[in-house]
Symmetry: C2
Subunit: 396 residues, 2 copies
């Protein structure tokens, strides 16, 4: 790995002197052996001749000279997550973490808003920011979407986002959607003194994203959203350099990068990369989610956002997927920090008492979680909680 | 999958009417069952209750209404390769292909140069374009790199590329590298009437990429290179909209996206995405490569570049990794087309007869391959071939 990702090819080369190798070669700093396994983690791996039986697993730490890369995030990625995934003798390979030196970090601004900036714009300080996603994901006209937004903000939501599938489709052009929604939100802010945050999915080409961003800002909007794996590192850096509002980072495709335990990337590394690109809010999944991710992995991801170690910027973790009031206590127990966005799709909008009861059920659940109470402890006290238990308990 | 990627959440929602679902819901068009397997392809997959024994594999075709997405490549990706990788009941999921309608394709220009444009700039028409990579990958100064380039072009190479690890590091700043190399290439072109193509790795932020591109063009360069997974869709579209020379697409990180047979993405889909982003030349690996990819997969990839079906643009396949003269015949037999770039790193530069003998060995191998001869058939006729067999035969 160290050879391939510094000077390597398959034979020794003219020009690859000992001095050069010494100065620019990557170095294996540590190998923690994790034992032998009988099968390779990936099929088709080429066995080296000295593997008599089974496959050796290990956690390996490789160091690159700073001068190989410089303060350049895309060059960093080519080094730490490039061709090495294709090396035959590796029967599984996952990037767990990247220690990034201060010299590199100081060249990047990181999130322009982060946790504090997001809280300030939402005017929510002492509890998680409670949000939802516009559903159905696809098919509503701008007017229908704005109609939903009106109901949602009147129900007391702090935050609403476009679905990641909605960008600028023919049935809901971005401009019309922004204008229709911001009219509702501006009216709401005038009446209540509080502007709910709406994350408009502006993912697309650079000039389109900038134009869309400017339209959001001009209309008084306070957030934009990007599908970070598709906009990519270069696109995000351009967007964050331009943006006057927080960037909500949606990580769809993340499953493909992470789902195999011994292929791809761990969220700890991923968080660093995209925080350097200037993402302010980053999806982490939630505990007992509707996806395949384990609670342990979710908790590690949330912690990585709140306390990145050895490089990377803090970002606001966005908890979502199959969330309703029920997960508040265990989330709080595991994280011990209210700097979260807690997004419930159906967990609010399908509440049998209506959406405002849905919002109240989440707020109550978090207030009680801080006191150490589960929703089951307090179900006799709050009808919103009782209804939620009756409904979601049967549907999840 | 179809539900999650159109209107879905985990419960039925107000507003999700039958009419809307009918108009905007994704539809499962075909399911080809591939049999039951005893183990899931990915660990941790949640079994559905009706899976009594084992796991059902299937090839599934899903259709989205055009209006859900519009002509928008990043929205397309969010739909076909988004959250669905995280669905618990799926114990493995890989995007095999995307059929893209003409209505969508006509909104994208695709590669500005492609095969024909690349050939014209290289002045090579009747055989593969033969190239190499500057090695050692990292550590050479601009002057040392230019010195290597001089030797390589005098040896008769058509094409040279930066290593993907080289962008704009402190020890070889992009500007100085371009100036030093282009001086050599311009001198060479003046003397010989032929300008070798050099792919400068300009990967980075948008403005830097544009500035670097302009510098290459100003100095007479004819190609730029991008690490396509890190520059990303948005970055590449901005670059290709600006570029006056072909874009050489390096796919480092591809292993992470593809190496598991039942996770991530197949190259057939990948080729379409990046050809739409305007990449002109795309890495495909080569047969008997030093990486883990099978020959069968490499051949399918090369064919996908040359003959994309149901959407996507033709791009020039770039064959590389552990290549030397030996693979020419089998590559030709499998592909039957000379529209290739054939890159040999050590396979040229480490040739015991010198680099010019290395280049000749590749040209001869391809001339003979077209006649149906292997290098072993003709080793008595050419010393360059005999030397190559003696040397690489023992080192690979």
């Amino acid at each position: 790995m160290a050879g391939e990702q510094s000077s390597g090819t398959f034979v020794r080369l003219p020009g690859e002197t000992a001095v050069l190798k010494n100065k620019y070669g990557a170095v294996v700093e540590d190998i923690q052996e994790l034992g032998m396994v009988p099968y390779p983690s990936l099929p088709g791996s080429k066995r080296s001749t000295n593997q008599i039986e089974g496959y050796q697993r290990a956690e390996i730490k490789i160091a690159w000279p700073y001068d190989n890369i410089g303060a350049d995030i895309s060059a960093l990625m080519a080094a730490v997550a490039g061709n090495l995934y294709e090396l035959g003798p590796m029967s599984g390979i996952k990037l767990l973490d990247i220690e990034i030196p201060d010299e590199f970090m100081s060249e990047y601004r990181g999130p322009g808003f982060g946790i504090e900036g997001t809280r300030k714009l939402c005017q929510v300080y002492d509890r998680p920011i409670i949000g939802t996603i516009i559903k159905p994901s696809v098919g509503l006209t701008p007017e229908e979407t704005a109609g939903q937004v009106k109901i949602l903000v009147e129900a007391g939501l702090d935050f609403i986002k476009d679905d990641e599938l909605m960008a600028d489709p023919p049935h809901s052009p971005f401009t019309k959607r922004v204008e229709a929604i911001m009219k509702v939100l501006n009216d709401h802010a005038l009446k209540t003194g509080r502007m709910p945050m709406y994350a408009f999915n502006l993912s697309g080409e650079i000039d389109d994203m900038k134009r869309r961003h400017d339209l959001v800002v001009k209309n008084g909007g306070t957030c934009v959203m990007a599908n970070i794996n598709w906009v990519g590192i270069t696109g995000l850096l351009a967007l964050s350099g331009h943006s006057q509002v927080p960037i909500h980072g949606h990580r769809n495709f993340w499953g493909a990068l992470s789902r195999h335990p011994l292929l791809g990337m761990d969220f700890v590394a991923y968080q660093k990369i995209f925080s350097i690109c200037g993402v302010d809010q980053l999806h982490t999944n939630g505990i007992r989610n509707k996806f395949c991710e384990s609670d342990e992995s979710v908790i590690r991801s949330v912690r990585a956002c709140l306390n990145p170690e050895h490089g990377g910027f803090r970002v606001m973790p966005v908890i979502s997927s199959g969330q309703w009031a029920e997960q508040a206590l265990d989330t709080h127990k595991a994280i011990g920090n209210l700097d979260l966005m807690y997004l419930c799709g159906g967990g609010i909008t399908a509440h049998p008492g209506g959406m405002d009861a849905g919002v109240r059920s989440i707020r109550i659940a978090w207030e009680e979680a801080v006191r150490g109470n589960s929703i089951f402890d307090v179900q006799d006290k709050y009808s919103e909680i009782r209804q939620a238990i009756d409904f979601y308990g049967k549907n999840t």
